[in-house]
Subunit: 341 residues, 2 copies
């Protein structure tokens, strides 16, 4: 078994444990961040950036305040000075050591923001800077493609949203998440067939909208990292504004949907990709007619479903990589910590 | 001559005229938007979204307040209710008729934000909703790939930044922009050679950072739209966090840089892409060693340079399309107004 597959398999336990600590984190978060917030600023890169896109939706839905993704270069390169009193800033880094993220969090905190660290190392520089830390507790990650730490970051944003606002799901939904993740992991025959379809394609797109948009971004990044295939994730609205032209024979496309107000939009975009000649892989029953379908467990509300869909996205990338005869643990040209400053 | 080439050639005049009206727009903007703003919210899709990324940098640099890109689905699909008093919201739509943009601007205005429309039709629904409008005055655009209207949107954000904050350029810099655009248009031999290199590649990436990040996004979108090639724009920091794996033989890469605090970052990422085997096209002298170089005029400050670099980006896409023997005016699978709601 590859390290990537092993770490994927740890997710129900890692996420179950993390979600189980939500009241402990919430108490600390409520101590340091006072409502009403002026706004929220998220600081992240790479896979963490995709988690932050989910954070962007779930925090804005729960807090009803605008959420911005920081442009780190404005802080670290251009030396911007702002007054951020009343703002909540969340820095996300698995290692807690990405200099660009720690440097930006330090600067926005100095500008007056309350700083929260989301990291897998509670003893890291990022945690040392922050007023409160959500310690992911995911354990060491050996495979270069991040899996359990990304899912844990998604969980951290769900915890933050629930702690500081009104999260759009009932309390009973928390327990459904690790259960649904385990169900996805136990059932991977269809994902294997879909991975083979991705492996034989010459370019790849992933589509989502709303809460599941982040999964399309993360899934496409995972495919790009592990297979080296040109691969891109889109919000379906942006996809129809131009990039739909790249959906043609030889392209594989993945569409994520759950029952909810954006399902029809995803179905329409998926149908357009298919009309263009792309081979369409539908994740869930809601994404419309498809060449291949990968089932999803029922009973997880749309706003929490990204924590489950992302496990499917990882499976697709893993199987595409194995179908190509490559080692998913050590993709060409990548290392674990990228020291951008 | 194609409509795309003709409309590109109009840019020095369109932008010169638009920038010349900046005091008129500024007076109206200062009437409706009072400092200090709580924050800024930008609403856009497709090429307009890339203009908004430039807006994100230039407005935050000038206003020193966080700038967020709206997630329209939260407003139009999930029915979010927020209190946006004190916020400035900018809706960007060439036609002023994209239902998703007009609908979102209307909802955020109802939530208390001051609404500004950036549109090419002052009589459009978007302008009717707004408290103030920057009328691009770019004239009709016939080619499907947007060129002069995108550059005009970039100019509108520069005008907004200067009107409501302290723009990071001297007043004399305004006049340098249309002059430099004309210089780029008059000198297109190197862009033609670079376009041919893009045409013979099997995948394509564009790289930038800071103010020029938006040009990499827009340039990559233009190549995707006109050639159908798998094409993606990256901030160099994100690129090094994973997608660098797609830079290999058969990939063409474009890097944009100007003298300034991020030039070294762009040089490093461009060198990594080249090490991976990508054929590197450097735009400007600052992007480091390259396989092909396309010169840029001197004398435009970095924060305004995107208005000039984007003309180069258009040239590269145009020449790549012509080298493939395709019609840039009518790319496969695209229409001018995309009615996402």
């Amino acid at each position: 078994m590859t390290a990537m597959a092993r770490e994927m398999a740890e997710q129900p336990e890692v996420i179950g444990t993390l979600l189980g600590r939500r009241e402990e984190f919430a108490a600390r978060l409520r101590e340091v961040a006072r409502a009403p917030l002026a706004g929220v600023l998220l600081i992240a890169r790479g896979s963490s950036d995709n988690a932050a896109i989910y954070g962007r939706y779930v925090l804005e839905a729960a807090l009803r305040r605008p959420v911005a993704l920081a442009a780190p270069s404005l802080w670290t390169r251009y030396g911007l000075e702002e007054d951020l009193r009343g703002y909540l800033a969340v820095g996300v880094s698995q290692s807690g050591k990405t200099p660009e993220i720690t440097d930006t969090l330090e600067r926005v905190r100095a500008a007056g923001a309350t700083a929260v660290a989301v990291t897998n190392d509670a003893g890291s520089p990022l945690a040392a800077i922050a007023d409160a830390t959500i310690d992911l507790g995911a354990g060491p990650e050996e495979a270069v493609p991040a899996t359990k730490t990304v899912t844990a970051q998604l969980a951290a944003f769900a915890i933050l949203a629930d702690a500081l606002g009104e999260a759009p799901w009932p309390d009973a939904a928390w327990d459904a998440v690790p259960r649904a993740q385990a169900e996805v992991l136990a059932d991977d025959a269809a994902a294997e067939a879909a991975g083979a379809a991705i492996a034989r394609s010459s370019s790849h797109v992933q589509l989502g909208r709303g809460f599941l948009f982040a999964v399309a971004l993360e899934g496409a990044l995972k495919v790009a990292e592990t297979t080296g295939l040109a691969s891109q994730g889109f919000s379906v609205a942006d996809f129809l504004h131009g990039p739909v032209a790249i959906a043609r024979p030889g392209t594989s496309a993945v569409a994520y949907a759950e029952p909810g107000p954006v399902a029809q939009d995803v179905r329409e975009a998926a149908a357009r990709a298919r009309e263009g000649g792309a081979e369409l892989i539908a994740v869930g029953e809601e994404a419309g007619p498809a060449d291949l379908r990968v089932a999803m467990p029922a009973g997880v509300p749309e706003a929490l479903a990204p924590l489950v869909h992302v496990v499917r996205a990882q499976q697709l990338a893993l199987h595409a990589t194995l179908a190509l005869g490559r080692d998913p643990d050590r993709p060409q040209g990548l290392t674990k910590v990228t020291p951008t400053t």
